[in-house]
Symmetry: C2
Subunit: 216 residues, 2 copies
């Protein structure tokens, strides 16, 4: 009996169905169909739906089927807005609180990605980008804020794919990161916060093409 991971796998699989658009907002997720599809009983399906509900990907009401959450353009905008604010806070706190070692690692991570920009290595840069932002979240030394920003990032993930495909975005992203790093190394919280806020706001614009068309 493969325990523990079964539900987790299903959560990922269903989440993928939703974020790739295979399931549209408003679509019903009935437990029996999903159970057949994944060849398990309804019990773990229900568990997975609970988690997806907590993640905000599906809505549930008593005695009704779970449905794919309809993320409106308005809500999407609001999530990017929150993201910009939260990253701004993290960067500011990083400037104030990061240990010397954390600062060095952040700078190293940042400089390492410079090569990737020249080579136009989108995939690899994406990985470094994720790592860079994670360092910002943890460098703030505030567990709950880290939690909020991580959670928001996860919910935005489906809408920020492919952002680096946009011409010149790689170099621009690096330049923006540079501003953030410089400010943090100078312990200039206000500047770091503003730079991070601006950075995310730009990603928002670059991602706005992925806006969900309101369904029904």
């Amino acid at each position: 009996m493969r325990s523990g991971t079964t539900v987790e796998q299903m959560v990922r699989a269903i989440a993928d169905l939703i974020v790739t658009g295979a399931m549209q907002p408003g679509d019903r997720l009935d437990e029996i169909s999903l159970a057949n599809r994944f060849e398990v009983s309804r019990t773990p399906v229900r568990e997975a739906l609970s988690q997806l509900c907590a993640m905000g990907l599906v809505d549930r009401q008593p005695n009704k089927s779970a449905v794919v959450t309809n993320v409106t353009q308005k809500h999407l905008t609001s999530m990017f807005e929150a993201m910009a604010e939260l990253e701004g806070i993290c960067a500011r706190l990083c400037a104030e609180r990061m240990t010397l070692e954390e600062r060095k690692l952040l700078e190293a991570e940042h400089l390492a990605s410079a090569r990737l920009v020249h080579r136009g290595a989108e995939e690899e840069y994406e990985a470094h980008n994720t790592e860079f932002h994670s360092r910002l979240y943890y460098g703030a030394h505030s567990d709950h804020i880290t939690e909020l920003v991580t959670q928001t990032r996860a919910r935005l993930a489906p809408f920020r794919r492919a952002q680096f495909r946009i011409a010149g975005r790689l170099a621009q992203s690096f330049a923006e990161h540079d501003k953030i790093v410089t400010a943090i190394l100078q312990a200039d919280g206000a500047a770091a916060g503003q730079a991070a806020y601006a950075h995310v706001s730009i990603v928002r614009e670059a991602s706005s093409v992925f806006a969900t068309v309101p369904v029904k």
Copy 2:
């Protein structure tokens, strides 16, 4: 069969056990005992535990009992920190975005609570206080930020009880609200944000006595 509410009731009941201290951090919540206690089967108990996990009140690991989350002083501080930042953001956005009607309602709500301060009506003031803050959250017109701040507030609820029992806190709270309202009505986002940030920071200090002693 009373459906839908059964699990919800259990979630509230168990949450109460945790926040009142009847269950200590680290205590195991085994499904069978809870099932007997609430006279239901394990299935709804598991559902309730999932939700409590999503709320951050309990921790779960595969094949192990759920345990009451150990909220350390560090994490508690971090939650208040996040709350101050988030309320600051809300107040700033309120100053920028509230409709004329929302501004009037906020002011009316605030003025109505003035009487309660004189009478020292702690209970009633508490209700008005909650309403006041809710108006700030919704007045920001940013669904996701509203969601984050509401969620954080819920998790802090157990630790901010009785804050108004502290002598003079009622009048001080009102004065702080006054600063926030004045700034919002003047559409001064920066001042509103700072006032709200300071307001929450003070509550944090007033509540620090409720710090959880790390348990094992």
